[in-house]
């Protein structure tokens, strides 16, 4: 039986008592690509952000039920939330690069997690840029400002920055929605290339994209979620509740 990276049991997500997701139970397999689909405002992003506790500081946000990530309940008071976020990386909808050079962007998180002497930073940076197929495009201008890159390149740079801290799970919140079709395909190819080493969870409103890259599908709608392997993807996405 395949090992699970993430397991949700009777999870309820709410803002100030108002439910965003009434009940969610699902399992996300290790080293697989899982797509989370659903209409706008259905709570896909809230669900994704919950997995690395990015919503902790939102006023009135509450999680009930059990969220097990990499074998631990993420709401266990003894859990180190910064270590959790290091192991569960996140890439956002809009490419976010810091006003620094390309290489400084890649090592941005790494320098706080790696040994203080900084040994191997350049090797790690190179490897991360190779992982996102950006190395050949930027190797001659690593010290240039990161915002001189195209939007698609910036999104891959943001992924390289996340990969540099070596997360086991990579959460992606509509990573291609701000990109042109060519850049979107590049990100999709990248997702497929990463699944051997990482567990990937992708929020998308594009069912075709989910079909192209994902092995499993979680459908969020009507404040609940359903779950099913998505190859072949059903013509009409009406899935049975778990």
């Amino acid at each position: 039986m395949t090992e699970n990276a993430i397991q949700l049991e009777q999870v309820r997500l709410s803002y100030s008592g108002k439910a965003v997701i009434e009940t969610a139970s699902c399992r996300i397999r290790k080293n697989a690509v899982t797509a989370v689909v659903g209409p706008s405002g259905s709570g896909k992003s809230t669900l994704l952000r919950t997995l690395c506790r990015m919503n902790d500081r939102l006023p009135g946000f509450q999680v009930e039920g059990s969220v097990i990530v990499l074998g631990r309940d993420i709401h266990d008071p003894t859990l180190n939330v910064y270590e959790l976020r290091k192991r569960v990386g996140m890439v956002f909808q809009k490419p976010c690069v810091f006003p620094k050079s390309i290489v400084e962007n890649v090592t941005f998180g790494l320098k706080f997690h790696a040994s203080p002497n900084g040994k191997g930073f350049s090797e790690r940076a190179e490897q991360s840029l190779r992982d996102v197929f950006l190395w050949d495009e930027v190797k001659d201008r690593l010290d240039d400002p990161a915002n001189t890159l195209s939007q698609g390149q910036q999104q891959r740079l943001a992924m390289a920055r996340t990969l540099a801290v070596d997360p086991e799970i990579l959460l992606m919140d509509e990573p291609t929605s701000a990109l042109d079709p060519k850049s979107s395909r590049a990100i999709e190819d990248l997702i497929l290339s990463l699944k051997d080493r990482h567990t990937l969870v992708l929020v998308t409103h594009n069912v075709d994209q989910a079909e192209r890259v994902a092995e499993d599908l979680i459908c969020v709608d009507e404040k609940t979620i359903c779950h099913k392997p998505c190859h072949p993807l059903p013509a009409s996405v009406t899935l049975d509740p778990l």
Binding site: C52, G89, T162, V165
Partner: protein, 283 residues
């Protein structure tokens, strides 16, 4: 339609009028200080100590005293302002307490400076036994410029794009690491601007330090924590009281011009650094 146009033209005309009035007042003040003060300015005036109760000699120790109080106040105030902003933005989660905190800071800005002087002297000078000294002045001025620094730094921290914070948070950075990596570098322009504006405010302050930190004559550089300094503000005030003596008046205008120049230089540096750092941040 014509009536509306007339109304608009009248309002526009009135706005121009008010703007010109405001600028004229400033121009008249600057021109007066410059015209009356420039005859006093010379190398000797800037670098010699004052003699004969300010009627002869220069204002060297007054300039030094003013700079000591300004720099001291900024050095004491900056860590407090920065710490209180970071506490408010990064660790205080309750919106009500944040609102109360903001209200307190704004209220502090509205307190008359003489009250700062009085309470400051009672606390630092009497209770902490610092007496009439430059240390008392520095501490009073530090409290006085705290709201200016706090508001400026707070605005800069609040204007940091949310996605920078989120990206740092998602990489597993702790609050301290986020401060080092994102918050401080991205709000540097606010920190510098706030400090320099605070300095400019401290430079113009007289009431709070008049009887708590300064002495008019017989004072050079302070040799201990409990000695007073002499400042440009005190010098101007005392010389102006001898308005019948033209020599005293010229020296008072000269000292006024130097004080104005110090403030102007600070504001010019503020604007220059601010635009430079903002461009750097947007790069």
């Amino acid at each position: 339609m014509t009536r509306r146009l007339f109304k608009e033209q009248t309002i526009l005309f009135a706005l121009y009028g008010f703007t010109i009035c405001g600028c004229l007042v400033l121009a008249v003040i600057l021109a007066t200080v410059f015209i009356k003060g420039s005859p006093a300015i010379s190398g000797a005036f800037l670098f010699e100590e004052s003699r004969n109760f300010g009627l002869e000699g220069g204002i060297f120790y007054q300039i030094v005293g003013t700079l000591i109080l300004m720099a001291g106040a900024a050095l004491v105030c900056l860590p407090v302002a920065l710490g209180s902003v970071l506490f408010q933005t990064e660790f205080l989660h309750s919106p009500q307490i944040k609102k109360l905190f903001r209200l307190l800071i704004y209220s502090l800005n509205a307190v008359p400076t003489i009250i700062f002087g009085l309470i400051g002297y009672l606390f630092f000078g009497v209770f902490l036994e610092a007496g009439v000294s430059w240390v008392t002045g520095v501490l009073i001025l530090a409290v006085m410029i705290l709201p200016t620094l706090h508001v400026s730094i707070h605005e800069a921290v609040e204007s940091i794009p949310k996605h920078y914070r989120e990206a740092a948070l998602a990489l597993g950075l702790s609050p301290g690491q986020q401060m080092r990596a994102v918050i401080l570098p991205q709000s540097l322009h606010g920190i510098v601007t706030g400090t320099l504006l605070g300095l400019a405010r401290a430079a113009g302050e007289t009431a709070a330090i008049m009887f708590t930190a300064t002495a008019f004559s017989g004072v050079k550089l302070p040799q201990s924590w409990t000695e007073p300094v002499t400042t440009l503000q005190t010098h101007i005030l005392v010389l102006a009281q001898e308005a019948t003596n033209p020599l005293a008046l010229t020296n008072a205008w000269g000292a006024g011009l130097v004080l104005l120049m110090i403030v102007f230089v600070l504001i010019a540096v503020t604007l220059w650094i601010r635009s430079g750092l903002q461009m750097e941040a947007q790069r």
